[in-house]
Amino acid sequence: MNKKDMTLVVTVLAASLLFLIPSVLVTGSGKVYIYVGGDLYGSYDLSEDRSVHLDNDNGISNDIVICDGCVYMKDATCPGKQCVHTGRISRNNQSIVCAPAGILVIIRSEAESGYDAITD
């Protein structure tokens, strides 16, 4: 490892930590947004327990559960089940993705940070 490598490693780590700070601070509040194929399917309060069942055009069905300030994909009929393995999410900007079904579940808190405005 030479000096340049060290610089690269430190820069990448520092940059990623910097971007992580806003999303770690806020937890358990905000809204759950569910997108199907890029369009907003619905938004739900994170503090309100409920479950959402989705049947997609491509034959994949997903069970999303909101419970105790967390969201998780309870079950899905997609091949890899990466979305189910993602587990529970509760913080701002955390997301569950089911790529085969084209589903994105994301938590957005009211306290918007400047970073979000850029990515929009």
């Binding site: 490892m1 690269l8 990448v12 780590l13 940059a15 990623s16 900007n93 994105l104 990515t119």
Partner: protein, 189 residues
């Protein structure tokens, strides 16, 4: 570097095969993390070795063939898009890093992080939503760790393979020249 065309083709093929096996082995390694897309990227070791020992063109061949075969054999069509984008972007980054004076570790880390970056880009296109970029910091951190690990593997293997590649070559030369000199076989590639 004096190496015949045949040797280059054979070595490229060997790296492709090794990369394919590593891709396969990696499907058995399940990391206990909750973020999709985090993996070690063992197959990148073979790409790095091809880049260092056989040149960029060979590394490109290894990437294209390995990714195509791996998606046909062990993955889905969707993951082909992720893999090919990740493979090509990371290879481009690695070639640039190698030219600009980074060591194997820097090259490997840049490859891993760029691989993650392009996968997030593809995911954003597939999902049609840019919010997905918010998981990139986590992926970048993991990419640094994975890159250092594959960099270590690559640097260890590079020295040994360089020696073997050179030795077999020089043995032939020595036989031709009827001049056997042990230890003289290590010349820089």
């Amino acid at each position: 570097m004096m190496r015949s065309r045949t040797e280059l083709i054979t070595q490229t093929a060997a790296f492709t095969a090794a990369g394919l096996v590593l891709s396969y082995l990696e499907t058995f390694i399940v990391l206990p993390v909750s973020v999709p897309g985090i993996r070690i990227g063992l197959a990148n070791v073979s790409t790095i070795l091809a880049l260092y020992l056989c040149g960029p063109l060979s590394a490109l061949t290894v990437t294209l063939i390995r990714v195509s075969l791996a998606s046909v054999l062990f993955q889905t069509p969707v993951s082909f898009m992720y893999s090919i984008a990740g493979g090509l972007v990371s290879l481009a980054g690695m070639i640039v890093c190698r030219r600009t004076g980074f060591s194997v570790y820097g090259v490997s880390v840049s490859g891993a992080v760029l691989h993650n970056f392009s996968q997030v880009c593809v995911a954003a296109m597939l999902i049609g939503n840019s919010y997905i970029f918010s998981i990139f910091p986590v992926l970048a951190g993991a990419g640094v760790g994975a890159g250092l690990l594959t960099g270590l593997c690559a640097s260890v293997l590079q020295k040994r393979l360089e020696y073997i590649f050179n030795r077999s070559h020089y043995k032939e030369m020595d036989r031709d020249n009827d001049r056997i000199s042990e230890g003289n076989g290590r010349r820089d590639i």
